[in-house]
Each structure stands twice: as C-alpha cells, then as structure tokens.
Amino acid sequence: MLVLSWTVLVWTLTVLCALCVALLLATVAVRVGRGVLARRREALVAQVRPLVLEVLTAEDDEVAPACEKVAAVPEPLWPTAERYVLAAFDSVRGEVRDALVQVLLDRGTLARAVAATTARSAVRRARAAEVVGLVGHVDGRRSIVRLLSDPSVEVRTVAARALGQLGDPHVAALLLGALRPGSDVPASIVGTALIGIGEADTTALEPALEGALADRDEIVRLTAVAVAAELLVLPTARYVGERVLHDPSPAVRVQAARALARLGGAWAVPTLASATAPTEDPGVRLAAARTLLDMGTPTALDHLAPLRDDLDPDLRRLALEAGPTLTTEGAGP
C-alpha cells in the first residue's frame, strides 16, 4: 500500500488551492485592468476626437483652420491623435482625408513609420507597414517594398496589403514576386492588393499581369488569372483561354476555365468544350462545364449535351441542368 506523507499532501493541497485563487484573482485583475486601460484611453481620445471630427465634417474653407487645430495638438497628446486619425483613414476618403494626411506628414508620421520598418520587433515592423499603407504617400513605397522580403510572414503580409493601398502599378511585379515558394504570403492578399491597384488604373497593370500569366510559378499564374478575371482585363483574355488547355497545372487550368465566365465570349466556347474532354482532369472538366452552363448561349449549352452520358456524375448533373430543351442525339426524356 502506497504510503504518502501527510505533510506533503497537505502542502500540495494548500499550494494548489492558493494557485486556483491566484488564477481567479488574475482573471479578475485582467478584467479590471482592461476596464481601467479603456477608461484612460477614452479620456485621452475624448480630447482629440472633437478636433479630428471637426476636420472630417468640415466643408471647404472650414477645413484649413480645423486642420491647424489638429496640427497644434501638444506633444504628449499627439500619439493618441495620430492613432485616431489613422484609424479614421480606414473609413474616410476625400479632401478631408487628404488634408489630414498632410497634417500627419508635417508632423513626421511617415518618417517615423519608415524608420520603424527596420525595428527589431516584428510586430512594430508590421504596424509600421500598416501606417505607411494608410498614409498612402508614395515616399513610403521603398521601405514597404523592402519588407516584402522580411523574415516574418506577418510583416510580409501586411507589406503586401500596404502596397495595394499605395496603389502604384509599378509594384505589381514585386507583389507577384511575393508569391514565390517559401514566401508564405497568402495569394488572396496579393490578389486583393493587385485588384486594389488595378481598379484605379487597369491598363498600367497589364504588363505585370501578362508577365505573371507566363510565370514559372504555379501560384503566380493562378493569382494573375484570378485578378485578370476580376478586373476584366480583356487584352489578356485570349491568353487566359490558352491557359485552359495548355497550362501544366490543373489548378491553373481550373481557374482559367472559371475566368472565362467573365473574360470569354463566343470565341471561348470551343476551348471550353475541349476542356470537357474525358482525358482532362476532372476538376478542370467540371469548371469548364460550369462556365459553359453559366454562359447559357445555345452553342455553349450544346456542348454540354454529350456530357449527359458521361461517367462522371457531377458532369451528368450539370448537363442535365442545361435543360431538356437541347437538340441532342439520343437524349431520352
């Protein structure tokens, strides 16, 4: 029979109970602390808010004097003001925003952020990148580009997003470069950034996209196809169509088949039809069939008819959806 020392047990019991109490007290302390911090922050923000709001709601000649008041905020309060203004940039645009950007620039916000992009802490670098993106001034571009090869994946991600906000088409190639294997930056981030840039100026984005569509790396091609489709970059349409059949990666072929729903026209139908061939990858066949279905023209739907007897049940289902009104050979009721 196991013999346990009385004292050890009582001690352990006491210590455990004390630890439990400590944890509970810590929980309470965290809650209280959060409340205290929030109130303190609110007290500071309350001083800054009216001034910034005055700028944001100002009309015409009211803007300049209101900006002066913000610019004149004393140094101890400035960090709060800066944070508040930057937070507002998420939601506000227009001349009031531009005016506030100038106030920030004059006060050195951009310079400080650019300097912080070399900080030791990844969180600080990421925050710096975010600020540069929000300020949206071209002077910050170089430091952000540098961060695209930062050791921390979070920083790279924020840098990619910030580049999208800066809206400079010349960085498109760099953004796509951020998709290289090992870089870990999610393709969706780069894609969104490119779309943001492209919305402002689609033609300037074309060269980079065209280059990316022929890139060695699968993910780059994939992203380029998706972006081209989203922005309706028609000059790339034929090339995208060519990708449907000839790209070595099935994932890219799928994306290209989907892209043709937006980029394609009557000319794309034969390509899509070929992509439904039984020798093709099932995912690609499905994507091509769905695009044909979405197109909905009689020619497109006609190419779905032979799929009614296909071995793949998903394709049979799509073919059925095309409707019984097709003229097909041997299609029963």
């Binding site: 808010r49 944001l56 709601t57 508040y84 507002a88 940039f89 998420d90 506000v92 645009r93 925003r97």
Partner: protein, 126 residues
C-alpha cells in the same frame, strides 16, 4: 427647423459620431446606435425619416436589421443608406434585395454622404 430625423447605426463609435456630426451640422436631428439590436429597436419606435446603416456589425448585421425594418409596417418604406466596406457585388445585391435605397462603400467621403442623404430625402425613395 430640422431637416429631418436620421438614425445612424454603426458599431464603430467614431464613425457613428462622424456621420452624426456631419448630419447634425447640416441641420438634421440625429440619433445614434452602436449595435444592430438597439439600432433596430430605435428604428422601429422612432419614426425616422432616414436610416444610415453599417453592414458589417457583429451580432446583428446591417442586413439583418434592414430586413426587420422592412418587415415592419412603420418602417417598410423608410429610406435606408447602407454603409459597407468595399464594393462587393454580393453585398450590393443582398442589400438592394433586402430593401436598401442606396449604398455607400467605406472609405467614404463625408461630404458625399451628406449629398446622398439629402438626395434620398428629396426623392423620398425607400
């Protein structure tokens, strides 16, 4: 003489304050709400001329609130301006299907918001 009663619903207090201030500077009587539920409750009871509604809110989103406003007789035709982050075909469709009158994306220009609000009220469009 007030230009009209407007309800502003946004979970971001600062945006809420901004819109409220812009509109009240222009002569509107503004009520604010910070979440979908209180926005809905105020909207149903308050007899507003227009509602500015943020879509992206936790708990009850702007679309949820809009639907319930449209379901209720007293707010079935109240003009509603939806605020959302970035154009998104889907949001627009859902928004209009749910009964929004107009749609603005964030980041938005406060001046443009005021212009839209005035235009909507002038048209009295739901």
């Amino acid at each position: 003489m007030t230009q009209g009663k407007v309800l502003v619903v946004d979970d971001n207090q600062d945006i809420c304050d901004l819109v409220a201030l812009k509109l009240s500077n222009a002569g509107f009587e503004v009520t604010q709400a910070n979440d979908g539920l209180s926005g809905l409750e105020l909207g149903l009871s308050g007899d507003f001329d227009l509602v500015v509604l943020d879509v992206m809110m936790p708990g009850m989103s702007g679309i949820d609130v809009l639907r319930r406003l449209r379901d209720a007789e007293q707010t079935a035709t109240t003009p509603v301006l939806l605020l959302t982050a970035k154009t998104q075909e889907r949001d627009v469709e859902t928004g209009f299907a749910a009964g929004a009158g107009e749609y603005m994306t964030k980041p938005f220009s406060p001046r443009e918001l005021l212009v839209r609000v005035k235009a909507m009220l002038a048209r009295r469009q739901p």
